[in-house]
Symmetry: C2
Subunit: 416 residues, 2 copies
């Protein structure tokens, strides 16, 4: 399937910061994608984007510093939004109102209402929305999805995930480097970036497809890491005494309709190795990302298997490799983040080409992004439980008929 | 100090199940301890206990199936309570009223009020209470305490711990083996057993000595693991269809007065390796028990140190070995659970001999055990935050003058 070249689709690129730059390259590596408009709020980035399209695709795209102008570009049927977090949903809604199919880079919502607004805009326009959650397409997460569907862990009762990423320098230099993260960390306090870990877990637990998140509570630790960094690294600026609102470690507990719990950790302001902190717990065994450990009762595919001891997950990852990833390795992996960026963008492009539903659709997008706003509400109220709205308006009770017809996010795909 | 033999102390042993049997052996290995009374609700265990004292100490102790009779035994000045969880506090209160110094094996409280009752009884009798939390005396936890006091992790912002122990067979056969755990798992739903991990964390964070727990929220996953085990292993008994209330994974978030967060996990009903799930997070680095990983920014004592990569904690454990453990190894480690059982019992015996405060005192005992009752309340109310009472009545704001005068639970001990 990865070999297939479809009809040409024309895209507008909104946001040409770090992420926009790498993702536009991936999109331009696809022979059936044409970049017709580029946009960045900064003139230099806008010009750089236009020049790069000219160089790579041989035509000069429409270039603007105004996102609404880029969205309005007549040729563009899809809009790829890679701006600061707080503008993802407003721009996606605007795209829908202009009849364009928006893809959003990841981030959390600032207000619960905007998640509803996104759902309503998509339903009213009858146009899909896709969240570009690349981690859903990562090799390990897709193998784990297969393990779960094949019953390796028995009945899954609990999952964990994290966005553990030491971003002190990126945040601390945000004003210098024009990075939106700084303002969010100085101002907000919550699970700011849930989707890298929550996305795959949502697929594991069939959220919005027979299950859903019903409530969450969040708790934030004190904020000490970023301030210490600023005092050491920005001593000659007002930032050294800045008020930092974001707690160093924010923990969020989510309860699902079918009884599973999810524990998310957000921490970006203390030194540590990168991790998405994955844990999957079931009645027959468990997997843990840190250390790449697995234990499955009675499964002796590892020669060193013995009761109640960790073992390497490598033989399981080998045996449960997802068919898409087998194909992808033959096809040739490409794009950033170990190859997953290409897959998620390709899924969007195919959905756009074929008029098929988005594999990470507007209900997923709304629910996953809502976790950020809801976690802020919970923390603001002293870690009270808050309800997670049912953005599907009851449709979560049903597995959707289209599941399995689209790109490789579940067992039932045409790949197997 | 471990070489020192003090005045002889006379103890009553209440409860001669698995734990009572091993702990009484440890106590009888001390030349200055005399067992004067033994008690178990089952006649066979009571007789076995008495015979064992006769064999080892050359005298027949007072033996009874009635705990109050054992406590009333005139000779006994201390009472070691190793019964089912639900009787620890009532028996300790009774001991205090009889003028005896009680030591409690670990467990959680069934009701918040009984924690207050314990504090009040201790204050009224002017007699200490000690919780026998052996993990506070474990080698790794004591080395970590030193690392924290020496600033290895910078400012600590978050800790985690777990009681991850596959006890399905013990729970599932509890009716056959007369084990109290079964009733608790069938009936209750909460953080049933918090102290093994919370105890050391409380010492790290100086809880009740300049800091305290102010609130908590708990969330329970569905209950699937024990039922699956019962259906497979007890198919011919009514237990196969028993109502199981305890969630497989219960997660509890605790907020401390000084802004730290603590995340506790309780899981005993799914297959997995044993772990106390320790995590310590600070502004300079972190430690993780699973995999025995550490990362301390800029600390290159490990030759393979590089930014943002895990490394083995072994060189840190070596360099920060607690003085008590250095002495203990020369003295000769003994007793169960890697030697920590001896140390915690010895700390109790010395406190009793010398009339010194308990290193894990009645305020610690009440606060740590209260987490169980509070977690049940939080879960019962839909994961609402509940306040953790200040059992010290304001004294938590002060470091206590006796800290450092007693047995090796902090840096300021006479051992250094």
């Amino acid at each position: 399937m990865l070999e297939r070249i479809g009809r040409e689709v024309s895209l507008a690129i909104i946001g040409y910061g770090c992420r926009g730059q790498t993702q536009m390259e991936v999109l331009m590596s696809m022979p059936d994608v044409k970049i017709v408009a580029v946009c960045d709020r900064y003139a230099d980035r806008m010009e750089k984007a236009a020049a790069r399209v000219q160089e790579k695709q041989g035509h000069l795209p429409f270039a603007t510093q105004n996102a609404h102008e880029a969205i309005a570009c007549k040729e563009a049927e899809g809009v790829v939004i890679m701006t600061g977090w707080e503008t993802h949903i407003p721009l996606a809604i605007h795209a829908l109102k202009c009849g364009k199919y928006p893809a959003l880079e990841v981030g959390g919502a600032c207000a619960l209402q905007e998640c509803w607004d996104l759902v309503n805009a998509s339903e009213q326009a009858a146009i899909p929305v896709m969240l570009l959650e690349n981690c859903c397409y990562n090799r390990e997460e897709m193998a784990l999805l297969r393990m779960i569907r094949k019953g390796v862990f028995g009945e899954v009762v609990h999952c964990e995930g994290a966005y553990s990423h030491d971003l002190r320098d990126e945040i601390g230099l945000g004003d210098v480097n024009r990075h939106y993260r700084q303002k969010h960390f100085l101002s907000r306090n919550g699970e700011l970036y849930p989707t890298h870990e929550l996305g795959p877990i949502a697929k594991y637990l069939r959220l919005n497809r027979g299950n859903r998140m019903v409530s969450l509570v969040a708790m934030a630790s004190k904020s000490a890491g970023l301030r210490a960094w600023l005092q050491e690294n920005r001593p000659d600026t007002p930032l050294k005494d800045a008020q930092v609102n974001q707690g160093d470690v924010v923990t969020t507990l989510i309860k699902c309709a079918n009884g599973e719990t999810i524990c998310l950790t957000h921490d970006c302001t203390t030194p540590r190795p990168y991790s998405r902190g994955g844990v999957i717990r079931g009645t027959k065994g468990l997997w843990q990302e840190e250390g790449r450990f697995i234990y499955v009762e009675g499964d002796d595919r590892n020669p060193d298997h013995k009761p109640h001891h960790w073992e390497s997950d490598a033989p399981f990852m080998r045996d449960y490799e997802h068919p898409l990833w087998k194909e992808y390795q033959e096809f040739g992996m490409r794009g950033g983040h170990g190859g997953m960026d290409y897959l998620v963008l390709r899924a969007y492009v195919e959905s756009l080409q074929n008029g098929t539903p988005a594999p990470i659709d507007v209900y997923d997008t709304a629910a996953w992004m809502a976790v950020t706003a809801l976690s802020e509400e919970s923390i603001a109220k002293g870690s009270v439980p808050v309800a997670v709205p049912d953005f599907t308006r009851g449709q979560w009770m049903y597995q959707r008929p289209e599941d399995g017809d689209i790109f490789a996010l579940d067992e039932g795909t045409h790949l197997e």
